[in-house]
């Protein structure tokens, strides 16, 4: 079985399991939406203020609540399932890539679900919105990669749900900066290409370290 076929099967399985629990669509996304509604109640509902801060708040919610996508049940393989996948002879790099693709797609789903909420509540300036077709996936891929690495390292630990966010959030900062600055650049009419390059660089660095770490990661968990 080829590498990419294995990647496809793993991603497909992860997404199939997620479709049964529908955790991201029915629980995490509404939670993110609730956060976006609550924020103005705390900082003020002044329309110009919200238009100004809206995009930044959206990305913060994507970053912090996106961790819940990483922590979802369907991303967690129990011991016997991990043994099964290993004994089926799946290349650890293929398992890593498949899991990352599944998580990234779900983070993207989360981003897309919150989009209308942002537009409705905050009335942001959406100049240059076609670029979002690039920005959203780049951030989603970065979160997917960080999430798969952090999940791998915290597998079967009792404090996993607290530890994973702590590991992910500081390292996800360039994703946050890249996304918010690219957006701001669009509004000011400046160049956003450097920020896109930053997002791409982050994703590339994570992809390389993640794939290289995938073998040792599998061996790390008894």
């Amino acid at each position: 079985m080829t590498f990419w076929r294995q990647v496809y099967e793993i991603a497909r399985k992860d997404l199939l399991v997620e479709s049964r629990t529908a955790e991201v669509a029915l629980m995490t996304a509404p939670f993110g939406a609730a956060a976006l509604i609550m924020i103005p109640l705390a900082i003020g509902t002044d329309a110009p203020l919200l238009t100004d801060l809206g995009p930044g708040l959206y990305w913060i919610v994507v970053l912090l609540f996106g961790i819940l996508v990483i922590l979802r049940k369907s991303a967690v393989d129990g011991g016997p399932q991990r043994d099964l996948v290993r004994l089926l002879g799946i290349d650890p790099a293929a398992r890593f890539t498949g899991a990352t693709i599944a998580t990234s797609l779900l983070v993207l789903l989360f981003e897309v679900a919150l989009g209308p909420v942002l537009v409705a509540l905050y009335n942001p300036d959406l100049r240059g919105w076609p670029w979002l077709f690039l920005i959203l996936p780049l951030v989603a891929i970065g979160m997917g990669l960080l999430g798969t690495i952090a999940s791998g390292v915290t597998t079967s630990l009792g404090t996993r749900t607290s530890l994973t966010p702590l590991l992910v959030v500081p390292l996800a900062l360039p994703l946050l900066l890249g996304a918010t600055q690219a957006f701001e650049g669009l509004q000011l009419g400046g160049s956003i290409v450097p920020w896109l390059v930053l997002l791409f660089a982050v994703d590339l660095a994570l992809a390389v370290s993640g794939i290289l770490a995938s073998g040792p990661l599998e061996e790390a968990v008894t």
């Binding site: 915290t154 959030v169 900066l177 660095a205 370290s209 061996e219």
Partner: protein, 239 residues
Amino acid sequence: MTMIRRFWLEAAAVLIVAGSLFRSFTVEADVVQGDVQRIMYVHVPSAWLAFLAFVVTMIGSVAWLRTRNRRWDRLAASSAEIGVVFTGLAILAGMIWARPVWGQFWTWEPRLVTTALLFFVYLGYLALRRAVVDPVQRAQRAAIMGIVAAVQIPIVYYSVNWWRSLHQASSRNSIDTPLRITLLLGVLAFTFVYAVLLRRRLELAHLEEELEARRFEASPDVAGAGITAPSLAKANKHD
């Protein structure tokens, strides 16, 4: 081991720290900020150490993955423990400096922000180590996280710098030579202190492991050893 061999590093550290302290207090104060600026001689070297310590953690992590020799894991862990202290110190010094000079505890200056983030990376790394019971698993997982984090940190630093340069004219004025020398002396002093602490911590870790290994050899906890055939008759004797 002769006294010199045992304590040469400490002796050198004491000398350099003394020299650095003396210099820090006698060099002329900054024209604008006055004496409070001297805390820069603690803040900047601490921040430098925070990064150096993590680089050492990364080196230990890579070496562990390649050799699976526990001493490299000890190096990574020890450096992280010392690094988190220096990172905390750097942040604290930065805050003490900022308050009188700029009127607030935090300035969103790139180095301070990245040092704060590095602090959280350290906390995460150490929390991960604490959460894993088996030493080999702990070494493996921590090594992976150490390397991934170390690769990301330059990107984080770069992105924060870039972001700040767009929003704020660089607040870094060029430093006069006498101040620069003092700063370098401070960096050197802190590096020696780090080396002393690292060496001691490594020795301690090594001894801990030795002790554990000897204990294990003397009376290993063999799986299933404490488990005997159950007997309810014995239990009922308490009635």
